[in-house]
């Protein structure tokens, strides 16, 4: 049994062992082993050239990763927290997602960016964001979000081995509370494969990251038979699994803690509107955060999707 963050650590050890071109870089990832200990032990085992404490500069981290990739490395960049990744967006949008295209496909940029994300950790401002939409919306970038320890290891391995840049968002709320069996040694969960977390027949709740547990808690209490689909990968999106589940249940609720407007839940709803309209027996309902800055922590629970809010959405869809 491992926690989610231990599984990330295991995945990094395994991939660095397997491929000497993999290097980990970021703020405090070396001697400290990361503020969440995700990179603990890497520096001792692989040396300070392969597990690098960088200057405090996110644009610099990702920008030099582009150059390191050109020099033949597979950089795995840690952003210390979700909101502290924002300085790197300039590099991500202008270069990381475009450089392969700019070379006519001649050059690969196998860069991984991983970061803890999400709220409910009772932290000061800007330690709680869910920035997946910024990343998913960037052409050339893939995005994965695990909700279990095994997937945290497997998706990270897939990201590191992928020829394209991948952002892996790790739900920090469940870093230490999500525990599960994690395969020893090499373990890859391919990008673009969703996971049915719970079988059901009446309605599909689509979720990812820490919201999978919220969806499951609502499913427990619902009168309807609820299927929970854990997307695991936002881009590429497993449309097959999504359409299959909704084809079976005919109803869908999408749960995400990020702000609603133009968030990833909207993308899921749009795919269903385009490709499953004849299967749908009601509107696709979103349960999300709101179009406001993430609130101070005494009222963050009101902002976050709760089982109650998911249940209200399920009632609405079932009653339609």
């Amino acid at each position: 049994m491992k926690t989610l963050v231990e599984a990330v650590n295991d995945g990094l050890h395994t991939e660095m062992e397997r491929d000497p071109s993999v290097m980990v870089m970021g703020e405090d990832v070396g001697i400290l082993g990361g503020v969440f200990r995700a990179t603990a032990g890497l520096r001792e085992r692989f040396g300070s050239d392969r597990c690098v404490d960088t200057p405090l500069a996110e644009a610099g981290i990702l920008g030099t990763a582009v150059g390191l990739a050109m020099a033949g490395f597979r950089p795995v960049c840690e952003m210390q927290y979700d909101a502290f990744s924002y300085p790197c967006l300039d590099q991500l949008i202008c270069h990381v997602g475009r450089y392969r295209w700019r070379t006519g496909g001649a050059m690969e940029f196998p860069i991984t960016v991983r970061m803890p994300y999400g709220g409910r950790v009772r932290a000061p401002e800007l330690h709680d964001d869910s920035p997946e939409a910024y990343y998913v919306h960037t052409p050339g970038i893939k995005v994965a979000i695990p909700s279990t320890p095994a997937d945290a290891k497997g998706l990270l391995a897939a990201a590191i081995r992928d020829a394209d840049p991948v952002v892996v968002l790790e739900p920090k709320l469940i870093y230490r509370t999500a525990r599960g069996e994690v395969p020893e040694g090499e373990h890859v969960v391919p990008l673009g494969s969703a996971r049915v977390a719970r079988q059901g027949t009446d309605v599909t709740v689509v979720a990812y990251g820490a919201m999978v547990a919220v969806a499951e808690a609502a499913a427990e209490r619902a009168d309807a038979s609820v299927e929970v689909l854990d997307l695991r990968s936002l881009k590429p999106l497993d449309e097959g699994a999504l359409l299959e589940s909704v084809g079976k249940t005919g109803r869908a609720v999408v749960v995400a803690e990020a702000p609603r407007v133009a968030g990833f839940a909207a993308e899921v709803a749009a795919v269903l509107a385009e490709k499953a309209i004849l299967d749908l027996r009601g509107p696709v309902v979103r349960v999300t955060g709101y179009d406001v800055p993430y609130p101070y922590w005494t009222i963050e629970d009101a902002y976050l999707p709760s089982p109650e809010r998911v249940l209200a959405a399920l009632d609405k869809v079932m009653a339609f």
């Binding site: 703020e27 300085p87 009772r122 406001v292 009222i299 209200a312």
Partner: protein, 363 residues
């Protein structure tokens, strides 16, 4: 040709300015601008900050505030600089200077509420000319540059001081803000708390510059290096920088050299990366005791005055935590209520929907 590419060796390390002596070989100096009352007021400010910090750590351990960024040992940097300002001047704190508003009359309860994740901890920056606490590293440097530039454009007398750490000087935002301030002749004091650590990253892994003050040369502004544990040295350097700023001569970078004498924050375990013996040694020469020694040598500080400063600060903190804890739980409607002047209709509808759901829950 390689020979023509030879660069001059970097300038010698700028002198580390000190005013306070050691009571033995090194004599005490003098600063202009502080009379006896001013010197004692400065002491009270340092004690207030020290007490705030020590009580906050206790409150954190008691579960009464959340994660807290300890600033023990940097009271000289904060108080020394603020005392060199006028009320018209602006202060831009980072999380490390969370309590600097105390020196402008802000209630301890306000700042404690911030660390309790309560909306009462958010203030109107214009009230005391104290900007919001900046959490993302260095991103407030351009704000301070812009504010200072704006003051100049409006022909106002004020200037601004922006606080940031050694690690912050690696961020693009620091560079852009510093350069803007210089180009716009902004009346800005860039005050770097060089505690030689950015969480677990030592200064040597942050920069190859011999001194952070040297960076000023690249922006065409003066760079000054002071002993950050010497409150009078910080005061004096800030006073001179403010004078320059008011005279229209633009920004100054002050590097206040100190050492991080506490964990980065309450969640940090420095035993993994720091030499604890060094920390202990630094704590022995901490700034409040050094200044008290100075004041006593000048015959200004008595036991009674020192005791009164502590007692008053403690009373303010007791009152502050009681007031912070007495605040009612915030209205969840506040999730929605301050982000827009004119909220989009969709958000207004979502607000109503959530409040209905929460009230049903409560039933």
């Amino acid at each position: 040709m390689r020979a023509s590419m030879r660069v001059e060796p970097s300038p010698a390390m700028p002198e580390l300015r000190r005013v306070i002596g050691d009571g033995e070989g090194h004599p005490d100096g003098e600063v202009t601008g502080l009379d006896d009352a001013g010197l004692l007021a400065l002491h009270r400010s340092m004690v207030l900050l020290r007490t705030y910090d020590e009580r906050s750590l206790t409150y954190h351990r008691q579960g009464r505030i959340g994660t807290y960024a300890i600033f023990w040992g940097t009271e000289a940097i904060q108080a020394g600089s603020v005392h060199a300002l006028d009320e018209v001047d602006w202060v831009f704190p980072s999380y490390r200077e969370s309590a600097i508003g105390l020196l402008r009359g802000m209630a301890p309860a306000t700042i404690l509420a911030w660390w309790r994740g309560h909306p009462a901890g958010w203030w109107d920056p214009r009230e005391r000319r104290v900007a919001s606490i900046c959490v993302p590293i260095a991103t407030h440097v351009p704000h301070a540059a812009g504010l200072a530039w704006g003051l100049r454009l409006r022909g106002e007398r004020g200037c601004a001081v922006c606080y940031f750490g050694d690690g912050a000087t690696s961020e693009g935002a620091f560079h852009e803000g510093a350069n803007f301030a210089a180009v716009m002749d902004a009346p800005l004091v860039l005050l770097c708390n060089n505690n030689q650590w950015a969480i677990s990253t030592p200064l040597a892994a942050q920069t190859r510059a011999a001194a952070l003050a040297d960076k000023a040369a690249g922006y065409g502004m003066p760079g000054v290096r002071v002993d950050g544990g010497d409150v009078l040295a910080v005061y004096d350097a800030t006073r001179q920088a403010v004078e320059r700023a008011r005279a229209g001569e633009g920004p100054t970078l002050i590097e206040a050299v100190t050492y991080r004498m506490a964990p980065h924050a309450t969640a940090d375990d420095p035993s993994l990366y720091i030499d604890e013996a060094r920390v202990e040694e630094e704590r022995r020469s901490e700034c409040v005791a050094r200044y008290e020694g100075y004041l006593r040598r000048r015959g200004l500080l008595t036991d009674e005055l020192a005791e009164a400063a502590r007692a008053d600060a403690l009373a303010a903190m007791r009152e502050g935590i009681a007031a912070a804890e007495a605040l009612p739980a915030p209205d969840p409607a506040l999730v929605f209520d301050t982000a827009y002047a004119d909220p989009p209709a969709q958000l207004v509808a979502e607000r109503a929907e959530l409040l209905r759901l929460l009230s049903e829950d409560g039933r």
